[in-house]
């Protein structure tokens, strides 16, 4: 197991370097000379040259990249072009909010998704199954930004039982977490159902039934444990979609998290902040995937041993 974790950790290194590479080179797509952009319109040639010299923009691109990479590994993500504050400081303020939102959303994705999937799989092709799967299909198809607005309209404007926006109390968490977690829950529900149905058809489940075991023991002790293995991978992938989704949900509910920081930075053309924010979110996703893989392996191992 330790070897597996080590191997997986080593495999992560090129991906992390690759992510920094892609982020760095995407920023080179910015049309025009960055030194001219930074100096502003009408700046003298000397000023532009001074900026170019100061930021090392006159060096070859690969040298600039290795410099960037070295800085990233030292925790230096540059400074905001708007307020000159270190990008890392801004990320450290915003990240806990986004992680809190992500935690509650993934909780909704797992609990709601698995419960719906199990309910569907217990009585396949019944009215309950069809209804649950129809709702799941709608969940996949509804745009999160529209779903969020509609929930805001219904619960905050009409019923006035939940706050419209902000991030001050647990009540503020409900609507954004539901908006962000619902799409993932729909995907997890579909996956849990199909995985459960596959497991239920296996011989050992038939044997368990023949032995006269109670249905709930068969479902929860024998079927679910095996059916959950592919679901774990889907939950891991959903975390990525969820991190991306924070961009929209934080904008709708006026939450000052990482996602909103990135969108605001794009609007203000504050490229170092965009670069840092995208990098931070991607690194979190890489780490989460690493945990999911280890967890998956552990879960699988236990089943093999059993």
């Amino acid at each position: 197991m330790l070897m597996f974790v080590l191997r997986r950790l080593i495999q992560t290194i090129p991906v992390v370097i690759g992510v920094t590479f892609v982020v760095f080179f995407i920023m080179q797509l910015v049309p025009g000379d960055p030194a001219v952009l930074l100096a502003g319109e009408g700046a003298s040639k000397e000023t532009v040259n001074a900026i170019r010299e100061q930021l090392g923009l006159n060096r070859p691109l690969m040298v600039q990249y290795f410099d960037y990479l070295l800085n990233v590994f030292q925790g230096d993500l540059g400074s905001s072009l708007k307020n000159s504050q270190p990008v890392l400081d801004e990320i450290m303020v915003r990240l806990p909010i986004t992680m809190e939102l992500a935690f509650f959303s993934i909780l909704i994705t797992i609990v709601l998704g698995m419960a719906a999937g199990i309910i569907s799989a217990i009585k396949p092709y019944s009215l309950t199954d069809t209804s649950v799967m129809l709702v799941a299909l709608l969940g996949i198809s509804l745009p999160s930004f529209w779903f969020g607005l509609m929930m805001m309209y219904f619960f905050s404007v009409k019923l006035q039982i939940l706050p419209v926006a902000g991030w001050d109390s647990i009540l503020h968490v409900i609507l954004p977490a539901l908006t962000l977690g619902a799409g993932g829950a729909a995907i997890v529900a579909r996956m849990t159902r199909s995985s459960m149905l596959e497991v239920i058809r296996q011989d050992y489940i038939r044997t368990a039934r023949a032995k006269g075991l109670r249905e709930h023991v068969i479902i929860y002790k024998h079927a679910l444990r095996n059916a959950l293995i592919p679901v774990i991978t889907v939950v891991g992938l959903q975390f990525g979609a969820l991190l991306g989704g924070t961009v929209l949900v934080e904008s709708i509910f006026a939450i000052n998290g990482l996602g909103r920081m990135i969108v605001d930075a794009i609007r203000m053309r504050d490229l170092p902040v965009v670069q840092g924010g995208v990098l931070a979110a991607s690194l979190i996703f890489v780490i989460v995937n690493l945990f999911v893989d280890v967890f998956y392996r552990f879960f699988n191992k236990r089943i093999e041993l059993n």
Partner: protein, 300 residues
């Protein structure tokens, strides 16, 4: 399976092996037609294509014309979906918007599929370091969560519908590449590929005339399902103000505008959202149906 060789030029091999057999096509169509959900999906998609094509004939009003005295009118017999804050008819704007939203979706998927297919074919066919290099690059692109890669690209290229198309398309490239690579690996091991190679066909002909036509089904399924995601992503980016810009009747932009009137005129946000949801639902259920029809074993 038969391979016919043109004896005058051995490179030209007639394509009989690549055409689906009549019975296979019939089976496929009968499974697809028998899938009620897939047919509902197909009807929804055709309906949207129809309204997109005939929007100028169907729209009761000019989607851009500002009539301030008609602003924020609720749905009525004159304005079925009401009017927005500038007095523009929402139904007319939705009808015209279908062109933009579907156009961006199709263009983004075409972009992603084009590069993804080439990368996947090359990686799967040549294997070894070419495969490792391309697929590691694809892994890196997949390491970006959700639409963040698209956001990074837009931050560099600037907001706008064309840039959104490129950004959303780029985010589909690794998904197509993975699927195509997997299918290429399976097909290239088949005996007929060895036979064609031994007859002197070059790699280009083998890849594009003999492998690609045989791996189209997973590409079509992935393409249909990606269309749903691409339309959602593009609308989401426009909602954030990074895609289509006002006064464009793009659905995401309309929704973003509706957000400001959620208290007084919720219908401004309700109808564009419904339009997106129904179209995406159509692509999702049609894509599911296609997958079942191409590979009935997948049906659960």
């Amino acid at each position: 399976m038969s391979v016919e060789v043109n004896t005058e030029n051995p490179i030209v091999i007639t394509q009989t092996i690549n055409l689906p057999k009549q019975s296979k096509l019939k089976d496929f169509l009968s499974i697809l037609m028998g899938n009620k959900a897939a047919m509902v999906g197909a009807i929804i998609i055709l309906f949207y294509i129809f309204i997109g094509l005939f929007a100028p004939l169907l729209a009761p009003y000019d989607p851009y014309k500002i009539i301030l005295e008609d602003k924020l009118l609720p749905p009525s017999s004159e304005h079925w979906m009401g009017t927005d804050d500038k007095g523009r008819d929402i139904l007319s704007r939705i009808l015209f918007g279908s062109r933009l939203s579907m156009g961006v979706g199709f263009a983004a998927v075409a972009f992603g599929a084009f590069f993804g297919i080439i990368f996947g074919l090359v990686a799967g066919y040549y294997g070894k370091w070419v495969d490792s290099f391309i697929m590691r690059l694809m892994d890196v692109l997949l390491a970006f969560p959700g639409i963040l890669l698209a956001l990074a690209i837009i931050s560099a290229l600037g907001p706008g519908l064309i840039n959104v198309t490129i950004a959303v398309g780029a985010f589909s490239v690794p998904l197509f590449a993975r699927i195509v690579r997997g299918s290429t690996l399976e097909v290239k091991r088949l005996e007929y590929i060895d036979a064609i190679r031994s007859l002197g066909a070059n790699d280009f002909i083998i890849i594009f005339r003999h492998i690609l036509p045989n791996i189209l089904s997973p590409i079509i399924v992935q393409g249909t399902l990606r269309l749903a995601t691409a339309i959602l992503s593009a609308a989401g980016l426009s909602f954030l103000g990074l895609g289509a810009q006002p006064p464009s009747p793009e659905w995401g932009t309309m929704l973003s505008n509706g957000r400001d009137f959620l208290f007084s005129a919720p219908y401004i946000a309700i109808f564009p959202g419904l339009a997106i949801s129904i179209l995406v639902l159509g692509f999702n259920i049609f894509g599911d149906g296609l997958r079942d029809a191409f590979d009935p074993r997948m049906k659960k």
